[in-house]
Amino acid sequence: MDIKGVEKLAELARIELSGDEKESMLSDMQGILGYVKQIEDLKVEDIKADYDLYNVWREETISMADFSKEQLTGQFPDSQDGFLKVKKIL
């Protein structure tokens, strides 16, 4: 992990970091990765967990939401004619 690595991650996570914050983040992450890498030593190839995971599905049904449109549109940071307003996308 180096500063370029931290910058790449910040870019992917859409978080802006100042120069100082990048340094601090780098040192924190090195410490944390140093701590978690002890699981590297564990052999896990042949493990079978004693449980089964399965997907839980439900039928698609149309029903009225129990909240109003206004509860959502009223919270838009910026809006126009009831539509969410954002900066140019394309």
Partner: protein, 474 residues
């Protein structure tokens, strides 16, 4: 004068029925304490302005005979549980103006019963922390010693019960966040079996680990609240019906102690209190056995890979677009980056970046896949232990509440606070922290707690032994 220090849900219910006092009078009594102490302790981020209206409705239920056990019970909720029409900020600035548009399933149940929801309690931002110091709204002070933390991330909820600002509270537990602060504050904190309580309306942190849990003064109340909030929910596909796990009968209950796991880094006062608690349990007829949990020590490192990964996905929605705080920028990308930079705190940004790293191409296998495989090792550890014993006992924490500022700048030191609590979340099993005594320091008595863990679905074993332990601890 209602003696708030000695109430239980059953006592209060009887008092309401007999007319000894009304729901309104009880709510007023708690509001008075809040008025006197909340400024100093910073427990509630908000006391709702409709508390007395709720109490009035509850009183009406007692008048017309439709009241149940939870009617009129004053309850505090953690700031990450959605209560429609009220702000739910998860201890974060990015949601400081976010008004919940629906009720969490647990809130719906409470409202239907006529419980009185007093307000939202402080927490570490997005439930990431062990001290409530990561809250964007300041730390909560431990009522037992205001120079110390209440624990976290449900520190506001546990301090609330310790300070008599509500009768019961709800917290959430992903790595120990109901149990560790309960231990620091001298109250009961239950982490139910994963899936036994609906997560619908709980702001997601680590979806494969998150669960809502009760914080109470005693075991009976924890049992009542758990029975009340549990149940499968079509809105949460990971939830299970209450009879999902088989309950086999146990003749003579055996408690397992993973002694190897309890040696390193534990305060001698915790060890002394723990040994005393074991002796007390033996004195009332429980058999104690040494067990091994060889992979327990890998639970926390694996947790700090799995959780950041899930966090990085769950917190992607906080982007300044549709709700919450939006910071200005030249273009769309800048708005994302600045809103998240300014709206999210240091620990949250740390974990998002860590999660992004462990999920990224080239590292996914070595970190995330490996950590999930370690999870299976931990589950199997507990499964084999529960063939030999019925419950597992450890201290809840390695020490009493630490001083505010003592650990906040060292992430790994903070992470090690989860050493005894984290494994239960990784395995999905139920666990509880019960007050077990005190450690004296600076002339103050700092609470200590012990933790019982049970097989999936066996909260009943926990409640049973918990009540017996409470009796002998008196």
């Amino acid at each position: 004068m209602i003696d708030l220090g000695n109430l239980t849900i059953k006592k209060v219910h009887e008092a309401f029925k007999s007319g000894e006092y009304t729901c309104t009078e009880l709510a007023q009594a708690y509001l008075k304490v809040i008025e006197q102490k909340n400024k100093e302790l910073n427990i509630y981020l908000e006391v709702y302005n409709d508390v007395l209206d709720q109490a009035e409705d509850a009183d009406a239920k007692f008048q017309n005979g439709s009241a149940t056990l939870m009617t009129g019970i004053p309850i505090a909720i953690k700031d990450n549980i959605l209560f429609e029409g009220h702000i739910a900020s998860s201890g974060s600035k990015i949601l400081e103006n976010y008004t919940a548009s629906y009720n969490a399933t647990v809130i719906k149940k409470l409202k239907d019963a006529g419980a009185v929801i007093i307000g939202r309690t402080n927490m570490d931002e997005f439930a990431m922390g062990v001290s409530t110091e990561n809250s964007a709204y300041g730390v909560t002070k431990n009522p037992h010693d205001t120079s110390r933390v209440p624990g976290g991330s449900s520190g506001g909820s546990t301090a609330c019960i310790a300070a008599n600002m509500a009768l019961v509270a709800l917290g959430s537990d992903t790595g120990g966040s109901c149990r560790q602060p309960a231990s620091f504050c001298g109250v009961v904190g239950l982490k139910p079996t994963y899936g036994s309580v609906s997560r619908h309306g709980l702001t997601a942190m680590g979806s494969s680990l998150d669960i809502i849990g009760p914080i109470t003064k005693n075991i009976s109340d924890a049992e009542i609240v758990f029975d009340f909030i549990k149940g499968g929910d079509t809105m949460d596909s990971t939830s299970i019906p209450s009879d999902f796990y088989k309950k086999n009968t146990i003749n003579k209950l055996v408690i397992g102690i993973p002694r190897d796991f309890i040696k390193e880094g534990v305060d001698p006062r915790v060890i002394a209190n723990f040994e005393e608690s074991i002796k007390e349990l033996e004195s009332i007829g429980y058999t104690i056995k040494d067990i091994e949990l060889p992979y327990a020590k890998y639970a926390v490192p694996a947790y700090y890979i799995v959780t950041p990964a899930e966090i990085s996905a769950n917190l992607a929605r906080f982007d300044g677009m549709r709700y919450g705080v939006r910071k200005e920028g030249e273009n769309l990308m800048e708005i994302y980056k600045k809103s998240r930079a300014k709206g999210l705190g240091k620990e949250v940004r740390r974990r998002i970046l860590l999660g992004t790293y462990v999920l990224s191409h080239g590292y996914f296998d070595a970190y995330y896949n490996k950590a999930n495989a370690v999870r299976k090792l931990i589950v199997n550890d507990y499964k084999s232990a529960f063939h030999k014993v019925d419950l597992i006992l450890t201290p809840t924490t390695t020490g009493p509440a630490f001083k505010i500022g003592e650990k906040v700048n060292d992430p790994v030191k903070m992470y090690l606070e989860d050493i005894f609590t984290g494994p239960a979340n990784m395995a999905g099993i139920p666990a509880i922290s019960i007050p077990s005594g005190f450690a004296e320091e600076d002339g103050k008595k700092l609470p200590l707690g012990i933790q019982f863990m049970a097989p999936h679905g066996r909260e009943d074993l926990i409640f049973d032994i918990g009540k017996k332990f409470e009796e002998i601890r008196k």
